[in-house]
C-alpha cells in the first residue's frame, strides 16, 4: 500500500504507534460517558420522539394529515426519501470505490461514513413505507406466494426501488459489519467490563487474527467493495428512474441517472463533513482525520457539485433544444412561477456558494467549510423539492394545476427522522469504534515488512 505524502500534510499525525492508534480510538468507546455526548444524545432523542408522535397520528388518521393533494401526490415524504438516500451514498463511495482505487486516506473516515449510510438509508426507507397509506401492509410489495394469487409488477420503477433500496441496505450493513469484526475483537480484548467483554466477544465471533483468516477476509472485503461500487450507481439511478420513466415534464429526462448519482455523492460528502468537523474536535481525533482528509472531501464536493450544476444547465438546455412546449413551460415555471424563490435559493446554496471550494484557503478553513457543507445540505433538499413539487404542480392541463405546502406533520416527520439519524449516530459513536482501528494500523510505517524477499 502506498502512502502518498506530498504537499497536503500527513494522513495520520506524527508519533503514532500500533498501541497509540488502538488505544486512542478504542478509548472513545471504552471510557466513561462524557457530558457532551449525553447532551447530544438527549437532544436527538427528543427529536426522535417527535417522529414517533407524527407516525402515531399518521397511523390513526392516515396520510391526509400531510400536505399532499391531487396534482402534488408526492410531497415531503418522497423529497426526504431521495434526500436521505442520497446522503447515504458518500459512505459507500468512500468505503468501496476509494478502497478499490487504493486511496489510503479513506481509512480514517470510512467506518464513520458507512454508519452514516446505514442510518440514512434507514431514515429513507421509512418514507415510502409510511407513504403507502396502510404501512402495515408494506409486505405486499415483496414477491411472496400469497392467497390472492397475485405478483408485484416488475415493470414498475417503484418495484425496482424495493429491490434496490433493500439490497443497498443489506449490502451496506454486511460491508460495515465485516469491516468491524477485527475491531470488535480489539474491543473484546481491551474492554475492562465483563458485560463489554461478553457482548463484543459474541459480536467478534472468535476472531483471532489468524493469517489464513486474514487472507480470506481480505478477499471477501475487496469483493464486497467491488460489489458495492456498481450498487451505489444503480441505487440512485433506480431512484431517478422513479421520475425519469414517468412522462411529467421536468422528470422525463435521460440526464437523471448520472445527475442523481453525482448529487447523491455531493450531498453525502456534505453530510460527512457536517458530522466529522465537530466530532474530530470533540474527541480530539485531529491526528486521524487530518486537514488532508478535509481538503480531499472538499475537492470531491467541488467536483460532484460541478456535475450537478451541469445537470441544471442541461435541464434548461434540453427544454429549449427539444422544442417541446411542455418542457419549455416547465423551465419557465421554475424560473418565474410561484416557487421561483426556492429555485433561486437552490442555485445559490448548491451552485454559487460551493464555488468557494475552488480556493485552498476555504478548503482549509474549518468554520467556512462547515458553512459550505451546510449550504449544500440545504441545497440538495431544495433540489428534490424543486424536482418533485414544482414539476408536479403544473403539468399538461391548466385545469389540473394546484399548489403544495408541507403541514406541521410533514415538518415534524422530517425533523423526527433527523432525530432518528442522530440518535443512531450517537449510539454508534459510543458503542463502536468510529474509525477502523486495524486499517489505521496498516497505515503506520512499522506495518511494512522491511527486508527483501530472497
Amino acid at each position: 500500500m502506498s502512502a502518498p505524502a506530498r504537499d497536503l500534510g500527513p494522513i495520520i499525525g506524527p508519533g503514532h504507534t500500533f498501541e497509540t492508534v488502538t488505544d486512542k480510538i478504542a478509548a472513545v468507546v471504552l471510557s466513561e460517558t462524557r457530558r457532551g455526548w449525553m447532551l447530544g444524545f438527549g437532544v436527538s432523542f427528543v427529536l426522535l420522539t417527535i417522529f414517533l408522535q407524527c407516525v402515531a397520528v399518521l397511523l390513526v388518521r392516515g396520510i391526509g394529515i400531510w400536505g399532499i393533494n391531487i396534482p402534488v401526490g408526492w410531497g415531503f415524504d418522497i423529497i426526504n426519501f431521495v434526500w436521505w438516500i442520497g446522503i447515504g451514498h458518500a459512505g459507500t463511495l468512500i468505503s468501496a470505490i476509494l478502497l478499490l482505487f487504493r486511496q489510503t486516506w479513506r481509512t480514517s473516515i470510512n467506518r464513520f461514513a458507512e454508519a452514516m449510510t446505514l442510518f440514512a438509508v434507514a431514515c429513507a426507507g421509512l418514507y415510502p413505507i409510511l407513504h403507502l397509506g396502510r404501512p402495515w401492509l408494506f409486505y405486499w410489495l415483496l414477491p411472496y406466494p400469497n392467497a390472492m394469487g397475485m405478483w408485484p409488477n416488475f415493470r414498475s420503477p417503484l418495484m425496482w426501488d424495493v429491490f434496490a433500496v433493500s439490497t443497498y441496505a443489506t449490502v451496506s450493513a454486511l460491508f460495515w459489519f465485516v469491516g468491524l469484526i477485527p475491531d470488535l475483537a480489539t474491543l473484546r480484548d481491551r474492554s475492562t467490563s465483563k458485560v463489554g467483554r461478553i457482548i463484543y466477544g459474541i459480536l467478534a465471533m472468535g476472531w483471532r487474527g489468524s493469517a489464513r483468516h486474514w487472507n480470506r477476509y481480505e478477499t471477501a472485503y475487496l469483493l464486497l467493495a467491488g460489489l458495492s461500487t456498481p450498487l451505489v450507481v444503480s441505487v440512485h439511478s433506480v431512484v431517478s428512474f422513479d421520475f425519469a420513466v414517468g412522462i411529467i415534464p421536468g422528470w422525463h429526462a435521460t440526464i437523471f441517472p448520472p445527475y442523481f448519482v453525482a448529487g447523491a455523492i455531493y450531498a453525502g460528502f456534505a453530510m460527512v463533513l457536517t458530522l466529522t468537523i465537530p466530532l474530530r474536535v470533540y474527541y480530539g481525533l485531529e491526528d486521524f482525520i487530518t486537514m488532508r482528509h478535509i481538503n480531499y472531501m472538499a475537492r470531491v464536493m467541488l467536483a460532484t457539485g460541478l456535475v450537478v450544476a451541469y445537470g441544471y444547465m442541461m435541464e434548461i438546455f434540453m427544454a429549449w433544444y427539444s422544442g417541446n412546449p411542455f418542457e419549455s413551460f416547465m423551465v419557465e415555471n421554475r424560473l418565474t412561477g410561484p416557487y421561483r424563490t426556492l429555485y433561486f435559493a437552490l442555485i445559490l446554496t448548491n451552485v454559487i456558494i460551493p464555488q468557494l471550494l475552488w480556493f485552498q484557503r476555504v478548503r482549509t478553513n474549518i468554520p467556512l467549510l462547515f458553512m459550505v457543507a451546510m449550504s449544500i445540505n440545504i441545497g440538495m433538499w431544495l433540489e428534490r423539492y424543486v424536482i418533485i413539487v414544482v414539476s408536479l404542480h403544473r403539468d399538461f392541463l391548466p385545469s389540473s394545476w394546484g399548489m403544495y405546502a408541507g403541514t406541521i406533520y410533514d415538518y415534524g416527520t422530517f425533523i423526527g427522522t433527523i432525530g432518528l439519524f442522530l440518535t443512531l449516530l450517537f449510539l454508534f459513536i459510543r458503542l463502536l469504534p468510529m474509525i477502523s482501528i486495524f486499517e489505521m494500523r496498516t497505515l503506520l510505517p512499522e506495518a511494512k515488512v522491511k527486508e527483501k524477499h530472497a
Partner: protein, 179 residues
Amino acid sequence: MTARVPLYGLMAEFADVNHLVAAIRKLRQMGYRRMDAYTPFPVEEVWEELGVHRNMVSFLVFCGGLTGALFGIGLQYWTSVIDYPINVGGRPLFSIPAFVPVTFECTVLFAALTAVLGMLALNGLPAPYHPVFNVPRFALASRDRFFLCVEATDPLFDREGTRRVLESLSPVSVAEVSD
C-alpha cells in the same frame, strides 16, 4: 511447569512484523508446516511465508452472483410470463429492459451474502472456543503484537526442541498453549 496438560502448541510473541516473517521463514526451512501466525492487521508477506495463497472466496462469490442473476430473471419470468401474465398494450410479457434492475440487484445481493457467509464459514467462524485464547498475552494480538503458533500436531514438534528453536528467534516471550 512439569504438569503435562494436553498441548495445542507453542506460541512465540514478537514485537514487530519483521521478526515474525523471519521466524516463519526459518521454521519453514527447518521443515515445520503446521503453524499459524496471528497479526493485528493483514500482512501479505506473512501469508507468503506460510504458503497461504489461494482461497475459495472468489469462486464462491462468483457462484453466488450467478445464482442471484438466475434467481432474479427466473422470478420475473415466472411471475410475469407464466403465473400472472398481464397484457399491457400488447407489450411483450418478457420485457427484458424492465427486468434488468431487479436482476442486477439480486445478483449483487446473493454475491454479497455469499462473500460474507462464505468467508465466515471457510474461516470456521463463529468459533466460541479456540486454544490460542488460553495464552493470557494473546489479547495483545488485536493491538500491537505478532504471534506465531507451532501446533503440536506437526511431525517435527518437540516440546523442548521446538521451544529452543522459537527462543532463538528473538521473541518477546514463548508460551505453551494448552488445549
